[in-house]
């Protein structure tokens, strides 16, 4: 399958330079793909899809085709990140997560940053993700966000920007590992001389962190991953991580608070659990502390947590740092706590809470991407240039009614990568979500989830809205061993 007719269409292409020649980092990959016979690449693509079915990595489809299962679309052309680019991403993410962690600690203990007027108090206190129940919490070693997934995008100029921080229960890392596995199973020769850094040790890193936060005096802690259950869309990931860490996968109904500790119901009676990697949101964690209607969590668990007899990752309350309005202040947050300039810039962001910025947004709705502060998964979003007058009108009213809840960003022309479309290649927009682990130090997994907007021209990469994914190759530098 030749690249002859492939067009970069003026976008930043991850594989090709503007003159149509492959980037130096992609040259080996390009040659390998170009050398394949007609149809061979498509057979590999089909083999990968079949492998996903065989491995049962599927999700249920509701509605018309109820009962059928689908795989998350996967494209076998890898996305390449060079060692130099990664170096900057790695440093930038460590800096950012370090600062955000200090920020969360400060917000729940002292609020110095508010008193110093760096962020308006009103913004924090009105945030849906601010948990007054967490005020005064002191998680072990001061770490709140043990696991972070940060969404990065590249604009026309090839510059990486942080689009969004996810500090609650970021998902997707299992697909990073699984995509690599599928590639190795179905297309192994592509790795020859590619110098790709491995991602397979993520569960070991995560497990080490979970062990490290065990309550004092517990040398071999029982670790459990708390899932909302088998019907949750991320259940595959939950079972995947539990399996590869060798820890228990529990649901709320398996856990109970007894005698001041958290216990799980086993075939031999109640057994204590020391560390919980929880994949349910704060809101649902404990109906005695948070939402009283929650059936998912463990009543009383927050009291055990406060007494230090169970550890939670992430700590409750971290959502305050990924509020989309707070996002706009992250450069200031980095400066405030670390006295450093951000290594990875934010996308320029207008906060509708500020009157002059709001006016500017409302006057230019057709140029901006508008986002609701507390939505995710690509919901509650207006993509101005692709919107209808009706949609813009609706957002105008919504912003007027609740300006605190909206931000606006210029429409970026996200970078593109080639994907296989029938018998040829076409460019599609992508983002990149690397995963950051915070234990004794901060570790960035050299890889990440490359999400692809499969619809031609679309900028929405979320899997719930027609997005797919790719294997992400972070290349080792010459000096750096794999």
């Amino acid at each position: 399958m030749p690249f002859d007719i492939y067009e970069t269409d003026g976008f930043y292409d991850e594989m090709f330079q503007p003159d149509g020649t492959p980037r130096p980092s992609a040259r080996v990959l390009f040659q390998r793909i170009a050398a394949l016979n007609d149809g061979e690449l498509r057979r590999y693509q089909q083999a990968a899809e079949q492998a996903l079915f065989r491995m049962g990595i599927t999700f249920n489809v509701y509605g018309d085709e109820a009962g059928t299962e689908k795989i998350f679309p996967f494209d076998i052309i890898p996305r390449i990140v060079t060692a130099e680019e990664w170096n900057r991403i790695d440093r930038g993410l460590r800096q950012r997560v370090h600062a955000l962690n200090l920020f969360i600690g400060d917000i729940y203990n002292g609020q110095k940053i508010l008193k110093d007027g760096v962020i308006p108090s009103e913004l924090i206190l009105s945030a849906k993700s601010f948990r007054k129940q967490c005020v005064g919490l002191k998680p072990p070693a001061g770490v709140w966000c043990h696991i972070t997934g940060t969404d990065l995008v590249r604009d026309k100029d090839g510059q990486y920007y942080v689009l969004e921080d996810n500090l609650r229960c970021p998902s997707g890392v299992s697909y990073v590992l699984q995509n690599r596995e599928i590639m190795k199973r179905t297309f192994p020769q592509i790795f020859d001389q590619a110098n790709v850094r491995p991602v397979i040790d993520y569960p070991s890193h995560l497990l080490r962190i979970l062990h490290n936060i065990a309550p004092e005096g517990i040398t071999s802690p029982t670790v459990a991953l708390l899932t909302p259950g088998v019907y949750n869309s991320a259940y595959f990931e939950h079972s995947f991580l539990a399996k590869f860490m060798g820890v228990e996968l529990v649901e709320g109904c398996d856990l109970v608070v007894r005698d001041g500790v958290v216990m799980m119901r086993t075939t031999k009676g109640l057994e204590r659990v020391d560390v919980i990697y929880r994949r349910i949101d704060d809101d649902f964690l404990d109906r005695q502390t948070f939402r009283p209607d929650s059936l998912l969590g463990v009543p009383g668990i927050m009291d055990v947590y406060r007494s230090g007899r169970v550890a939670l990752a992430n700590a409750p309350g971290t959502g305050i740092a990924d509020d989309k309005v707070i996002y706009a202040y992250v450069p200031k947050i980095i400066k405030y706590y670390l006295n450093e300039e951000p290594i990875l810039p934010n996308v320029p962001t207008y906060v509708c809470f500020e009157e002059d910025q709001r006016r500017h947004v409302l006057d230019n709705l057709d140029k901006f991407v508008v986002k609701a502060a507390n939505e995710s998964g690509g919901y509650g979003m207006l993509v101005g240039p692709h919107s209808t007058r009706d949609q813009r009108e609706k957002f105008k009213h919504a912003i007027d009614a609740d300006p605190r809840n909206y931000i606006a960003q210029p429409t970026l022309s996200l970078s593109r990568v080639p994907i296989i479309v029938e018998d040829h290649f076409e460019g599609r927009h992508v983002d990149l979500r690397p995963y950051v682990l915070y234990g004794k130090d901060i570790f960035v997994l050299p890889g990440g989830l490359t999400r692809v907007a499969l619809k031609k021209g679309s900028l929405v990469v979320n899997s719930s809205q027609g997005g797919g994914s790719k294997d992400t190759w972070v290349l080792a530098s010459q000096e750096q061993p794999c």
Partner: protein
């Protein structure tokens, strides 16, 4: 291990075993029809009796035609004991226990499921399942069993798998014997039609027992067959073998010595096993085979209930009173 996961392992195995047995019944009955003369009426209803779902069948189908019975027992998801529904249930249980079972086990269950989905699609398109299909179901089940034995530590979870499988198999062997016996031959003394041998051989074949039986007893005789399928301690589909193996796994799980019990599950299963230890085939015939099988099935159901209560039931634990928890606001 977690009670919820233990229960899923137990049911995962039970459902795979169930699917295999139902497929066997149909396979053998199809063969049987080929051996019987043309004026001999085809017998499909006894198959439905074997799984104990006559009333459900009657609710959805008018006649016990071959095609109806095959649809009902193999593909119909309205029948929770159909092969299709069993494999779906096995897979859902495997999904719950996915972090506990091995990747190879999960992939085999999943392949089994995809195979059934494919077969169901071609059945809907008008193709009757081929004879190979039944063999494929049996092989898929055996492959799963082999993968389980070869890749999973023989730990508590593995014993729950075995426990479920053995209880299911004991139940199914007793049912097929009961149904055939009851429907084909009202009394054991009545020397039946010239086709007796063929019919009884079919019973043996549907439990994969024909060859092993021949090695043991050579001649086909109803008494001997009952003896072999109920009381044999070495044949892996015989009721006695299954009950002993289930009991062994139960003891491995709780660490109880043979001859004693610590929980109702061990008591129930120990009782059945002791009965079988001291029963001879003429006792069974004297008491009536059907009555004996009925008692056995009731006993196995009780054992299943006791296993549930002992290991799986999430006993409600009253929440800690709010005021006692020492909240610091």
């Amino acid at each position: 291990m977690l009670s919820r996961v233990a229960e899923s392992l137990y049911w995962m195995s039970r459902y795979v075993e169930r699917a295999e047995n139902v497929a066997r019944f149909i396979d053998v009955n199809t063969w049987l029809q080929l051996d019987l003369p043309g004026n001999y009426e085809e017998q499909w209803l006894p198959l439905v009796s074997t799984t104990g779902d006559e009333s459900l069948f009657a609710k959805h189908y008018k006649e016990a035609l071959k095609s109806n019975v095959i649809r009902f027992l193999i593909f119909d998801t309205r029948n929770p004991n159909s092969v299709n529904a069993s494999i779906m249930a096995a897979r859902e249980n495997a999904r719950i226990a996915r972090q506990y079972i091995t990747l190879e086990m999960w992939e085999q269950i999943n392949r089994f499921y995809l195979m059934m989905q494919g077969a169901a699609r071609s059945f809907e398109a008008g193709y009757e399942p081929s004879q190979d299909f039944f063999g494929d179901v049996t092989s898929a089940s055996h492959l799963f069993l082999g993968i389980t034995d070869a890749t999973m530590s023989h730990n508590e979870g593995w014993h729950f798998c075995r426990l479920g499988r053995m209880i299911e198999r004991a139940d199914k062997t007793s049912r097929i014997l009961d149904a055939k016996y009851f429907l084909l031959l009202p009394s054991v003394e009545s020397v039946g039609t010239p086709y007796d041998d063929i019919m009884w051989a079919a019973v043996l074949r549907s439990t994969s027992a024909l060859e092993m039986y021949r090695k043991r007893f050579q001649e086909i005789s109803p008494m001997r067959i009952v003896e072999f399928l109920v009381l044999d301690r070495e044949f892996p589909r015989a009721v006695h073998y299954c009950v002993n193996a289930a009991e062994e796994s139960l003891r491995a799980i709780s660490g109880t010595k043979p001859g004693t019990f610590r929980n109702p599950a061990e008591q129930q299963l120990g009782r059945i096993s002791a009965d079988l230890n001291y029963t001879q085939v003429r006792d069974i015939i004297a008491c009536g085979l059907h009555e004996f099988m009925d008692d056995l099935q009731v006993g196995l159901n009780r054992a299943g209930g006791a296993i549930y209560n002992t290991f799986f039931a999430l006993q409600p634990i009253p929440p800690v009173p709010h005021y006692a928890a020492g909240r610091n606001e």
